[in-house]
Amino acid sequence: MIDVLFTFPSPNSSEVSMRTLYSLFTAALLATVIVGCGGSEPLQKTDTGDIPDWYMNKPEDPNYLYEPATATSKDMQLAVDKAVQAGRTGIGRQVETKINALQKRFQEETGIGDDAQLLDQFTQASKTIVSTSLSGSKEKYKKIVKDGNNWRAYVLVEYPLGAAQQALKEQIKNNEQLYTRFRASETYKELDSEVEKYEQFKKNNAQ
């Protein structure tokens, strides 16, 4: 077998082509071995200096909800759209958590859990607030960087918390039954106070 592999007869046309074939096969085998043993390229790193500080350390402000988000795409605007929507969805979840907590306090304090119709009306009011009151949200900060072959967008979405509380208060006031039941409660008084603070905050910012 080895003799066949390493002994080359005197050249003629078919034997030359066989020799060429052997040479090509050996070269291909060697190339495969070299590439395979060469090791994989290291994972591409994003320079940590590119990550904005406001993304790592979310701002704190009692009047606003903040949600940082990031996304990648080969298309730059799509990267921004993905990140902004992720930020707004996160804010929606924060608002829902706060409204659900408020709803639970109303339930406990006023006992509307026994009144299925009233509870249903209040639940509907809360759900409406969560899904529509993101009007007023905006991209406070935005940064675009290259991440390998993609664009990476970092965004910080801001939403005034007082707007959601104000919308909830309006929803309650528009429902006579709910308003009658809630207006004397401590929870409603706190909500009223928060909305007044928000309105004062808006006036101060306008000056």
Binding site: A71, Q77, L78, G92, S135, K140, I144
Partner: protein, 241 residues
């Protein structure tokens, strides 16, 4: 010879302008109000024809920006492997009868043309553009504006910044960035976001959907900038609250 010509043709890089008139880069500072700037294709033979076409586009743009309704939405699906776009669909509505009104009220305040595009600024017939705004500004002399990363805040207005990657035709880059800027404003005005997360021991999925329904009034472009290093085009717009 043919090979050389083919190589030169394939590797031809479009030469984008490095200088723009001040009224284009700082449109919010133009003394004539209202005004609109349209970016159209470069003149092929008669420059006046390109300017006339640009003027009509500017009047159409002004009619759109006077009052525009945007509806639609987009959805994304997030998985362990990344976030994918499911789809998007938007519709813009405006009163097209206003185009004729602005065609009669406006005139060409200034124009700027190069090999790539023709930019026409249109404004009220009784107004003349100041000499300061006609000056040429080189992009090399401008640092990255602060509004790229942080939107301005002004009582009575909603700001939005849009960006675009570089396309072969520079006008497409500017138009895309301008559209993205007013879509950003629309999302601040009227948006409903829905999201559902699903998580089990093996994976995490997140489906997000947004519905847009906004009416914008008196939209205007305030500023433009181009990052020549990263090849990104930026436009800042605002609308009245």
């Amino acid at each position: 010879m043919r090979t050389l010509f083919l190589i030169l043709f394939l590797f031809q890089v479009p030469a984008f302008s490095q200088q723009y008139p001040r009224w284009f880069l700082y449109q919010g500072e133009v003394n004539c109000r209202p005004n609109a700037a349209a970016i159209v294709g470069a003149s092929t033979f008669y420059r006046d024809s390109a300017v006339a076409g640009g003027f009509r586009s500017a009047c159409t743009l002004q009619a759109k920006y006077f009052q525009m309704a945007v509806t639609g939405g987009q959805a994304f699906w997030g998985t362990e492997g990344g976030t994918f776009a499911i789809g998007s669909e938007y519709a813009e509505r405006y009163d097209s009868s206003l185009v004729d009104l602005f065609l009669s009220r406006f005139h060409v305040l200034a124009s700027f043309g190069d090999k790539q595009q023709m930019i026409v600024l249109a404004g009220d017939r009784e107004c003349e553009l100041s000499d300061e705004m006609r000056e040429s500004v080189s992009l090399n002399t401008i640092q990255q504006p602060s509004w790229i990363e942080s939107l301005p805040e002004q009582e009575g207005y909603i700001y939005g910044a849009g960006m675009s990657q570089e396309y072969f035709y520079e006008q497409s880059s500017w138009q895309s960035a301008e559209k993205n800027s007013y879509m950003s404003i629309a999302r601040s005005i009227g948006i409903r976001v829905k999201g559902m997360q699903k998580q089990d021991s093996a994976e995490h999925q997140d489906v997000r959907d947004e519905e847009l329904n906004a009416v914008m009034h008196q939209v205007e472009v305030i500023a433009r900038w181009r990052d020549t290093a990263d090849k990104v085009f930026y436009v800042l717009s605002r609308a009245k609250k």
